[in-house]
Symmetry: C2
């Protein structure tokens, strides 16, 4: 049969066709009224998408670039910080903090677990200038308790920085009420456009912190970018085509929400939750185990490879037999688990077909299972939770 290429990976994700066309057709110069209007519109849309009154900064970089910005701008060499770490992206915070000369304490859980509020509190010291964490640890599929940790930090001088690169658009946040000081997102995730843009929303007390911090920053200078953003400009030449694509994706979400982008975002989160519920139910029916059973997020489902099967072979078979890219485990988790994403532009067909393909793939690798058992469980999960969005082409 024809094999249509599909990205079932937690970023890059499936592209919104309208955004692809907007990207191809974007031929603007960035220092024009036309682009300033587009850029201001995208910054305003990002505020709604994030659900914050805080100012947003958009940068031409991968998400890691804006993670670095939230280290370089908020700290001085020798500062003590706390990192919540239970996977590869938690470890990225550790590496970043160390590269900027920080003293790093870590509240750590094994891969696949989450870090509880209590575990965090046992490590927290008044002198911690910043706490760095993920909303969703994309390497394991676990969702951390941003709300609980934010509440526990209330009243302290420790800033809360959340990498929500896969969390935004898959998780309900109340950024301002919870007191999240910096929340970070990226273009290649739930917002359905290619990689190359990353952004963050920054609280007033985080802006104030930057008045005195001493670590070097130039390209990633958040204050300079905020000042230029207020004029509809970026400090340096931005990835104009991707900005046009992002605007188009927000138009789609606004349209889905009946003219209300925040409502569209909620539909998108519910969509991811439905796809995740379908995938978890199907996997369970096939006798598979979740890699992060305690707190699985809606961004992706990480499934432990069945005994005797290397997950690399599952990834390969998805690719070779069905043209679909799923994600392997990262680093030392390679071979042990595989990950199927739900963040962004995934519909019923994508989700049910991934489950169908998984059954064929596992049988091909020697596992005994009843064809259709996972599919039926996915359908039942769909029937329980289905919400439909308007048709998009």
């Amino acid at each position: 049969m024809i094999r249509k290429g599909r990205l079932l990976t937690p970023g890059p994700t499936q592209l919104l066709p309208a955004a692809q066309l907007a990207m191809a057709g974007a031929t603007m110069h960035h220092r024009t009224a036309e682009f300033r209007a587009l850029y201001s519109k995208v910054l305003a849309d990002l505020k709604i998408f994030v659900g914050t009154m805080n100012d947003i900064v958009l940068m031409t970089a991968s998400g890691t670039g804006v993670m670095e910005a939230s280290v370089a701008n908020l700290t001085s060499p020798g500062d003590k910080v706390l990192v919540v770490s239970a996977g590869k992206f938690g470890e990225r915070w550790e590496g970043l903090a160390k590269s900027y000369g920080l003293e790093v304490d870590v509240a750590r859980s094994p891969y696949g677990d989450t870090v509880t509020v209590k575990q965090m509190q046992e490590k927290l010291k008044p002198e911690h200038k910043v706490l760095y964490m993920q909303a969703t640890e994309s390497s394991t599929g676990a969702r951390h308790d941003v709300e609980g940790i934010a509440k526990a930090l209330k009243g302290s001088n420790t800033l809360l920085v959340v990498d929500a690169i896969t969390g935004l658009g898959t998780t309900h946040f109340d950024v301002d009420a919870w007191g999240v000081d910096v929340i970070i997102g990226g273009s290649q995730k739930a917002v359905m456009v290619p990689p190359g843009l990353a952004y963050c929303a920054v609280s007033e007390r985080a802006w104030q912190r930057m008045e005195t911090t001493k670590n070097p920053r130039y390209y990633f200078d958040l204050r300079k970018e905020r000042k230029n953003g207020a004029k509809g400009e970026s400090s340096y030449t931005p990835a104009t085509a991707l900005v046009a694509a992002l605007s188009s994706a927000f138009d789609y979400l606004r349209d889905q929400g009946g003219g209300d982008l925040a409502a569209g975002r909620e539909l998108l989160i519910n969509n991811a939750e439905t796809a995740a519920a379908m995938t978890r139910a199907g996997a369970k029916a096939l006798g598979l185990k979740l890699f992060s059973p305690g707190s699985p997020g809606a961004a992706l489902t990480a499934i432990t490879a069945p005994s005797g099967i290397d997950s690399s072979n599952i990834v390969k078979a998805f690719r070779n037999d069905f043209g679909s890219v799923i994600a392997n485990g990262q680093g030392e988790m390679k071979g042990q688990l595989f990950r199927i994403a739900h963040l962004g532009y995934y519909d019923y067909a994508d989700t049910i077909a991934a489950m169908g393909a998984l059954e064929h793939v596992l049988i091909g690798l020697g596992m005994e299972l009843e064809l259709g058992a996972g599919l039926r469980a996915s359908q039942e999960a769909y029937a329980r939770s289905a919400q439909t969005m308007a048709v998009a082409n």
Copy 2:
């Protein structure tokens, strides 16, 4: 009449249509054999385009990001460096160096001039760890003498870092023979694709320098990126769509060069030189003065606004009457000059039409001139220097 939008700006520049389509259609995951092959191909093409045997690093960032990388990776706090500065981008080197705690000496000329080798030598000290300069100062149109400065540095321990973001594809370089340690380019320039990617070629002694330097870097860590690049990967999620576009642009240049990308690059440089010669001749025939008469580059032509006319009004009229974006002066040069670009995807029609439009615009703003005088001079310049490339659609 219909007004087709045209970017006559020194970045972003006119897009190659085939690259736009390649960008829209790129739906790859970056950790796949398919993308690794593309990425390796683009890194190899970049080597040919730059004309070097040195390793290339490609990053998702604006050009300023890779300028920052060449500061963060090559220096330690307190190091002394020399900056060659005669415009806004020279001043960017100064700002970057200061933000990383360096002691900055400057060999400076007024805007519109170049910095001579002698001027540089008067400032150069043995303790300068790096000399930072532009190949073309895009804010004034001046071309600096990279070859002369490189020769003067031979035998010293001062590394030579050249921002050739508008210089590459508009200037003949012999990077390795001259001993340029780092040369920097960007996607939105002569290579005809949108902004969002920047790259540099790094010499062996510059790689060695990085073994001991102490300034912080993480996202812009050149050694990590080199190591991953050798495997066809980037350290962090790259702007996949732009990588596909860049590959397509190199395919076009290779095709133009009869299967030889280096030959295609030479044609592209000659194209820019012809367009620049046409524009200079036309401007002169209209009685206009070049802003950088001593050493005008082929990337763009900066023209001083005629007495009594604010260049902002020239820019506005180009936009409103002809749909073309030309560049104003930057910073304190705003209002004093306008800039017309030649780097990348510009043909005879773009160049001759810009001159025709300029005549109408200047007459509209009250200047007395003979319609067609600039056009005829441009045609004569074309007839003298014309080389044609194959037809592209």
